[in-house]
Symmetry: C2
Subunit: 362 residues, 2 copies
Amino acid sequence: MQSGLSFQIERTCGHARAGVLRLPHGVVRTPCFMAVATQGTVKAITSEELHQLGAEIVLTNAYHLAMRPGHDLIARAGGLHKFMNWSKPILADSGGYQVFSLPALRKVTDEGVTFQSHVDGTTHQFTPEYVMEIEQALGVDIAMVFDEPVAYPADRTTTWASMERSLQWAQRCKAAHSRPDQALFGIVQGGTDATFRAISAKETVRLGFDGYAIGGLSLGEPKELMWEMLDICLAHLPEDQPRYFMGVGHPEDILASIARGVDMFDCVLPTRLGRNGAAYTSQGRINIRNNQYSEDFSPLDPACDCLTCRGYTRAYLRHLVKCGEILGARLMTYHNLHFYLNLMRRAREAIVRGSFETPQKM
Amino acid sequence: MQSGLSFQIERTCGHARAGVLRLPHGVVRTPCFMAVATQGTVKAITSEELHQLGAEIVLTNAYHLAMRPGHDLIARAGGLHKFMNWSKPILADSGGYQVFSLPALRKVTDEGVTFQSHVDGTTHQFTPEYVMEIEQALGVDIAMVFDEPVAYPADRTTTWASMERSLQWAQRCKAAHSRPDQALFGIVQGGTDATFRAISAKETVRLGFDGYAIGGLSLGEPKELMWEMLDICLAHLPEDQPRYFMGVGHPEDILASIARGVDMFDCVLPTRLGRNGAAYTSQGRINIRNNQYSEDFSPLDPACDCLTCRGYTRAYLRHLVKCGEILGARLMTYHNLHFYLNLMRRAREAIVRGSFETPQKM
């Protein structure tokens, strides 16, 4: 296990796969959902609670942590696991997307990106080599290559150029990456162009990584186009390595992606929507701010046995959220993470049983 | 136990008392600190965590809950205990202080106060009778009379008038209060006038309540004056009933008040300061935002064994607080409540041992 990673597929059901991903900090059963810990914390949730929820891996962001508190500081703390008190696996997004979306000023060359921090305006240059240095300093289990994403919609010239640059940067990331106890994933780009997607997938696989992510989708393109692009990417990725669909997504899209052969997911929806008062339930998504819940003394989801649903009513949660109380954000987030992680557990069980089916509508 | 309350003093040490307060929802060992749950939640903390922390009673606010979500709604939920998922005792402040500080428009007569809600601008009238209706609907263990506080500084005429009105309202509260499973506390007023304090205490005791609060202090008056007023009040209160010093305060003031014979306390400091990045430690109060903690990988308080101090470092907490992360507010609040509740436990143990002394400086 040179890269710190091994991956076995236990069972398949159609294209869906039930796998076991072994990483330096533990075992992750796939398909898996990675709760988003952008700034070194799953917003509003302690690591004790993540353990209770059955989370086996979380996702963080190299750009955010490099800006604040700094990856050097985290390295001196003994690495990100120790810093954030989370002993299980962590995947770090390289922050390509953030570098290209958050800073107000930015200059891109083949060498890298120069930009001003969105936190304090200081100037930084991110090159593929420097991003590898950051991710290695964090000591995460899985590092992602530094890429240049492309917005949707984009013209063919722009899409091609940024795909080409991403491939060059991926090669430099691989060359610069030296930490033997850390896996490195490549990212397939190519916008919404079928030909570019196939080229990007083939070239990324030729470079050779421990796993492959599909990036640059779920950015507002029509759903049909997203599935078409995903299928092209998956067709060119090795069967025996983990596949990660970045930033996806809604529960029904996750299930549909599992059915197509994706193993790993991350999304801000359960945490962000939770803080804003939306809850995923077995009866669909509800907004707890709605008047109809003001005297609803039943749990958020009658079919759920999480801490929130065991102790607190819709009426109380509505009161907390409407008052802007932190406890409201906490309890809603906890429930939504439980919903997502439970969804993955049930999907995996169904794959193992051989009865996994994509629901038509959630 | 007509009022739902019984109080026994187990031990004294000087003027300090170790008591046992029996209430409909459980036993409270005194001296006690009541965490503040203004809107039906101790900010950022679950009821499970309050149990872990060893909290035996919390304080809520009739004004806030009447404005939002409404005491009728809470009554239909089965009372405040059920609504907020807290099975142990609750004391409700009547909201006199809030009615006289939060609304922009307000008109006071002997009958009561007419004001506009600070939440939605709707017009309400609070009379002593109506406030009793609110507190009885909440179903709290201890209700407080509705009083008219006086700001500091205030002239003698104003102080006298509001003390007089508070006594009349206290009498009306007592007459209107009918819930047999709820205790009712009187509140001693009188500003910073020694004569008025003595009169208010004697008259309040003559009306006869289940316990007595000292209100209208710790509002910016010099410390010496506060202690003088407190001592006058305490001298006129019955030895065998609980005494509650409202809104106090700093740890050293709580200890000094215990030494003078106070049994009950509440204060927003541990929760409010926690959310803002200040922590109480065995080495004094620290502000976690300070630069000196940026690479301090020791716990908030090396002498503390709370969840926060067991798992998280100062450097991490500083990062969270500086990022405005909810988890920072949570972990800091949890630690501060642990500090306060532990302070009370240790004070009580010392009283029982006969070795309670007011520290000169904390």
